[in-house]
Amino acid sequence: MSETKSTQVSRPFGLLAEYKNPGKLMRAAKLVNRAGYTKYDAYSPFPIHGMDDAMGLKDSKLGWIVLSHALVGFSGGLFLQIWTSSIAYPINISGKPFINLPAFIPVTFELTILLSAFAAVFGMFFLANMPKHHNPLFNSDNFRKVTDDGFFICIETDDDLYNEAETEKLLMETGAMNVEKIYE
């Protein structure tokens, strides 16, 4: 086990195991999940399909965030047009009705999409814990490969089952190429 160079004594964050390819990473994630760990993550340069099931993750809740914003956009857009053209300052435009619903469809639609899109992006940031510019994993030089061709699993010390010797043994058994201790 190689240790990250660190001048001051800091709290350990977790154990980082590297795997050779997505196949091995997926297998290892399944085994770590079966062993009962909960505070771990599988890192890869691209999303690996089937990994959510391997890690036992629930579906993303993002859809609900987007739906709620879509409803706000829809009703807000409709309200804006109805209120301005029938209550705030009704203007007779070539005898058209003040509340001219067919004509209000485009703006209502665009505002629904606009708010949904904001929710889809910023909701994702919220759920994925971003922006978070410092991450203990960035202390590892080896981890820089994760955005190129590196596949990793990190089990965090916060996990109830975490025991340095046993966790390391488990990671080696799952087929890790190397295991590194990460400090905060």
Partner: protein, 475 residues
């Protein structure tokens, strides 16, 4: 997004013997290499043109819209033509990034990043024209849902106001979509560049991306939702642009065919622009393994398809003008074909309907020189389509005494030329500083990205084992 359905063997999307590492190097190292000489030359020219645009806009705002070639009946000239043309070009980017994503077309990953960049810059160019054509630009805030000095609100019955909402939403959503796609690749650059300052800057925009599956999970959901939102949005934008014309009662404009016809035309011209840019970029940056000849062929098929849809619309418009029996409508169309603007009409027809017919031949679809030439021809043709629609219907209106021939002034022409400066300045900056191909997505469509590609121990499959399995499938 696996490219093997199991029934039909498809060409691999990435050609050459690439690993994940070599794909990263192929795309990300472009940013790290010294800036090539041609880039400085192209950037210099683009900057000059952008300066020209600023001068022309300054002159316009100082003097008023009288410096344009507008006359008493043609109140919409080049400004609207250019607006529709640029917005239309943008549509291909969203079509590639959203609609082809929903249809699980793996080949889109090679071109989606720069097609989306093209969308954003094209919409920027487009947005200039309606903003300055109002004449009194200092009251442009009247288009926003704010009460003016008389406490009056904008008229929500007006298609021009719908357009404001449609185009600004389109720009915002395209930008968000593009940025979300960029985040993992910005992280790649953050971890890769040697300069400390560059790593910091990329790092800020990468938002602390780690590539953990707990991030990918939400990321992929977000991407899917954005694709689902952008798909109806892109169709709505050109529909609403067509409403600017179709909701009026001008002969030649007041037709129900306009929304689908405009959307098809937008995709047609946008794909032509994607083709032009793709052919240049793949050559200059040696990306032939990612943007393969198969990609070119697929884009050409879409150009052929949408070109025929546009051609069908031209003929259908004519038919309905005759079949509908409205005298003014009939005149408007016959006048297009044989009147003073017949040269523009037939130029449009040849460029948009006849030229793409070459692509029925597989040889032509896979020929780079032919593809490049046709892509330019189509863009010229689509500009003339908007010119024909806008100008012919206005120049010969209901009263013959007010008929006049419309021609642009130098300000019209130079403003249009200047928008190319704006477009290419941004596009060159994008090529220089951002990954022009979606690195993470390209890796996803490689066979090695699928965990099932590996054997039960998670090792690379032996080559003869693959051959064996293939023979088993056949029997």
């Amino acid at each position: 997004m696996s490219n093997t359905s199991g029934y039909v063997k498809e060409e691999p999307l990435v050609q050459g013997n690439h690993t994940f590492g070599s794909i990263t190097a192929l795309v990300a190292d472009i940013v790290e290499r010294p800036t090539p000489m041609w880039w400085y030359i192209a950037f210099g020219i683009s900057n000059l043109l952008m300066g020209l645009l600023l001068i022309m806009l300054g002159y316009l705002i100082w003097e008023g819209t009288g410096v344009w070639g507008l006359n008493n009946t043609v109140a919409w000239g080049w400004a609207i033509v250019n607006f529709v043309w640029w917005v239309g070009i943008g549509h291909a980017g969203t079509l590639i990034s959203a609609i082809l994503f929903l249809f699980r077309q793996g080949w889109r990953t090679a071109i989606n990043r720069f097609a989306e960049a093209m969308t954003i810059f094209a919409v920027m160019c487009a947005g200039i024209f309606p903003a300055v054509h109002v004449g009194r630009i200092w009251v442009i805030y009247w288009v926003f849902p704010l009460p003016n000095q008389m406490q009056m609100w904008p008229n929500f019955n007006s298609p021009l106001l719908w357009d404001v909402f449609a185009v600004s939403t389109y720009f915002t959503v395209s930008l968000l979509f593009w940025y979300v796609g960029l985040i993992p690749d910005l992280a790649t650059l953050r971890d890769r560049v040697k300069s400390k300052l560059a790593a910091k800057l990329y790092g800020v925009f990468a938002l602390g991306w780690t590539g953990g599956n707990r991030q990918w999970q939400h990321y992929e959901k977000s991407y899917l939702l954005l694709a689902g939102l952008a798909t109806p949005l892109v169709l709505s934008v050109h529909t609403i642009v067509s409403f600017d014309f179709a909701v009026s009662i001008i002969p030649g404009w007041h037709t129900t065919i306009f929304p689908p016809y405009f959307v098809a035309g937008a995709i047609f011209s946008g794909f032509a622009m994607v083709m032009t840019l793709m052919l240049i970029a793949r050559k200059l940056y040696n990306l032939e393994d990612i943007m393969t000849i198969n990609h070119i062929e697929k884009v050409n098929i879409i150009i052929l398809l949408t070109g025929n849809m546009v051609g069908f619309a031209y003929i259908m418009e004519f038919f309905i003008a005759w079949y509908g029996g409205v005298e003014y409508e009939k005149f408007a169309f016959i006048n297009r074909a044989v009147g003073p603007y017949a040269w523009a009409y037939w130029l449009m027809f040849c460029c948009n309907v006849f030229a793409p017919q070459l692509f029925w031949s597989k040889k032509m679809r896979r020929n780079i020189v032919v593809s490049f030439i046709i892509s330019i021809i189509v863009n010229i043709g689509m500009w003339f389509e908007r010119f024909v629609i806008t100008v012919t219907s206005l120049a010969q209106d209901f009263i013959p005494s007010s008929w006049a021939y419309y021609s642009p002034t130098f300000v019209d022409v130079l403003t249009y030329v200047g928008t190319f400066g704006l477009f290419f300045t941004h596009f060159l900056l994008f090529l220089r500083f951002l990954p022009m191909v979606a690195i993470a997505e390209i890796k996803m469509v490689m066979p090695q990205a699928d965990p099932h590609y590996y054997d039960e121990n998670g090792d690379e499959p032996e080559p003869e084992k693959i051959a064996e399995e293939a023979s088993k499938d056949k029997s």
